[in-house]
Point group: C2
Chain length 389, copies 2
């Protein structure tokens, strides 16, 4: 079987950066282009890292391999954070340091799913998650969910999910606060998901990447803290969103110590461990999080409110994250969806196309309302209004 120059078949099933196809067109526009298609923040971190030669001298092993489960003082700080803020009762043995939430999600998928097994993916969802399932040669089953809950908060979740089950279903992927819809699941909704998982013997991969980015006093619940759920849930956190340190590629997951040990086996075969230095660097921001993250969240909420107020079309008000996600079906006025996306790029504003978040969202767009400074956001809103309203 001659192989070269052919790649593994799984590469035909995944794509790279979801924005790759627009890159050259956007590049031509230079600084005129306002980038609201990526999930990032225009702000510099609100925590000043004490990183100087003294910092490095006091951590002389920053350049060396660490324990593949993570640096002990980092794992302890992460466990304390989860216990104090999120209602977990975990110790450092139940923490696995990872190269961002991406790495934690990917290692979890590979640890849990055998080829051809199925995982229910509640959608709309982060575009790379279905790709991870494909990389593991498993199957993701899209379940339209979060946007439904804005209009049907009393949805009978058990009855609804049951229709997507097959004899091959072994896990459920969940993300609250949800990227891209901004939905924050309520305790009652999570209890139904938990009961369903227990009844159906499902693992849960709970993506808590937007932990802490919650508006209007909504309550943030982690499904892993519900009764008997910790051991069947991989709860995944990151420093890329509310902590604003995406560039350090650091995250962590928690579950039973035995589960953590199994996932570590995959992680050492993917990256060996996350950066030792990144772990040292995140201990202080983690310990002082209450001094700066709630302020950041307030600023984001103000940006959200400004954005929604100035938009001349009604959009769903997100309960968390830093995204707006809405259908533009009513504003096409005879144009095709992709013509409108092109017109937006021509007008100088990049948004993420809905289809990347699930096949049910082909007429949606996602906007990151923290990706550029307020004055440029306002310009972007004008352009959006021109093309859409």
């Amino acid at each position: 079987m001659p192989k070269f120059p052919h790649f593994a078949e799984r590469l035909n099933r995944i794509q790279g950066s979801v924005f790759e196809k627009y890159r050259s067109k956007m590049k031509e526009k230079g600084p005129y282009m306002i980038h609201l298609h990526i999930g990032d923040t225009y702000l510099h971190p609100k925590f000043n890292l004490p990183v100087d030669s003294e910092f490095l001298k006091k951590r002389p092993y920053f350049n060396r391999y660490c324990n593949t489960f993570g640096v002990e003082r980092f794992r302890r700080a992460a466990a304390e954070k989860l216990n104090e803020d999120n209602g977990f009762t975990v110790d450092s043995e139940q923490i696995l340091a990872t190269s961002g939430a991406t790495n934690a999600l990917s290692a979890s998928v590979i640890s849990l799913l055998d080829p051809d097994e199925e995982i229910l993916i509640l959608t709309p969802c982060w575009p790379f998650f279905p790709g991870m399932v494909k990389v593991a040669d498993a199957r993701g089953i899209e379940v339209p969910f979060y946007t439904e809950l804005y209009t049907k908060p009393d949805l009978n979740i058990t009855a609804y999910l049951k229709e997507f089950m097959t004899p091959n279903t072994v896990a459920l992927y969940l993300n609250t606060p949800n990227n891209p819809s901004g939905k924050v699941l309520t305790r009652h909704q999570l209890e139904q998901l938990a009961d369903f998982a227990k009844y159906q013997d499902l693992w849960i991969i709970s993506d808590e990447a937007y932990d802490g980015l919650i508006f209007d006093g909504h309550e943030q619940i982690c499904i892993g803290t519900l009764p008997e759920m910790h051991q069947r849930t991989i709860s995944i956190f990151t420093f890329s969103k509310s902590f604003m340190f995406a560039g350090l590629r650091l995250g962590y997951l928690t579950s039973d110590a035995e589960v953590v040990k199994e996932i570590n086996k995959v992680l050492v075969h993917q990256v060996y461990s996350p950066s030792t230095l990144s772990q040292y660097m995140m201990v202080e921001p983690l310990k002082h999080r209450q001094d700066w993250i709630p302020k950041l969240c307030m600023e984001y909420q103000e940006l959200r409110d400004m954005f929604i107020e100035k938009m001349q079309i009604p959009v769903i008000c997100p309960e968390g994250t830093y995204f707006l996600f809405f259908s533009i079906q009513a504003y096409l006025r005879g144009r095709k969806y992709w013509e409108v996306i092109d017109q937006l790029i021509d007008a100088g504003v990049a948004v993420a196309p809905g289809v990347d978040f699930g096949s049910n969202f082909k007429d949606y767009i996602r906007i990151c309302f923290t990706g550029e400074p307020p004055e440029r956001l306002e310009k972007a809103i004008e352009r959006l209004n021109e093309v859409l309203a």
Copy 2:
């Protein structure tokens, strides 16, 4: 099919840290224990990182996501290094930044191997590589190789490798300088491997992790620089060994730009990208590498010579890397192999068991002669002599 609490079957085929089983026993010994089982260095980096608040101010995006292929100035510096030192002729488009060589190897395996396909693994080899192949549900075929070449430098490689081929063989994994044997493949040996790969339509994954750690003036050749080999070879480099910055988890790979694009698709699904900050931090050490890495290499060579001289049993003298690898069969004197490993740990010196490097090396041990400072190395040698000689 109830799944929880069962994991994916592939987890039964891999192990985590190869030293996990000795951890508690070694911990009991405290500082008495001399750790020569891990591939690391006792030295602090010989390059002073200019990392202070000024450094961070001048790189205000260090905290943000980077291009998933890597930071452009890092990719350019890596390409220049490969062109100047290793004989490549690549530009930054042919560089993919990765979270260490581990991540580059893992992404390559997943990109190239379909389930049940076979890759020839020249052994002895780095213990995690066969595990990566298992994670991808593919099959690694061990080919005893590097140690053979110490005694049979004129081995007919083509005829030898042919015996391991099946209709499912699609790739070859190669590592020179070799961990653990210290063998540095000659141009003639590499040419035979290259011809074999071309004739058999094989991909090559070339692990150059020990790039630059070469002794006695041996010539280091990268197989990817031989005629027509770049496009079928993934050449993989790291900052963890000769650069001494394992804790930053940074490496890179090079191949044709089209191959780089395909592997990037897998990498974004594993880690999204390596640390932006690590990439910024490694640009200067990379540019000034000639000022400090050759000196480091000299120091390592002296440590090697001291070690071999003081050992009371003859060991193969490694041509590169920082390992000794030899059979202890002749020194068992009625003891079982594992009894000797236990006696070594009891005596306060940890070595890596040979079986982790390939099933043909069950009576070997690997020693890292740079893992502890010279005075502790000398103590370790005394203990080794007591137990073995």
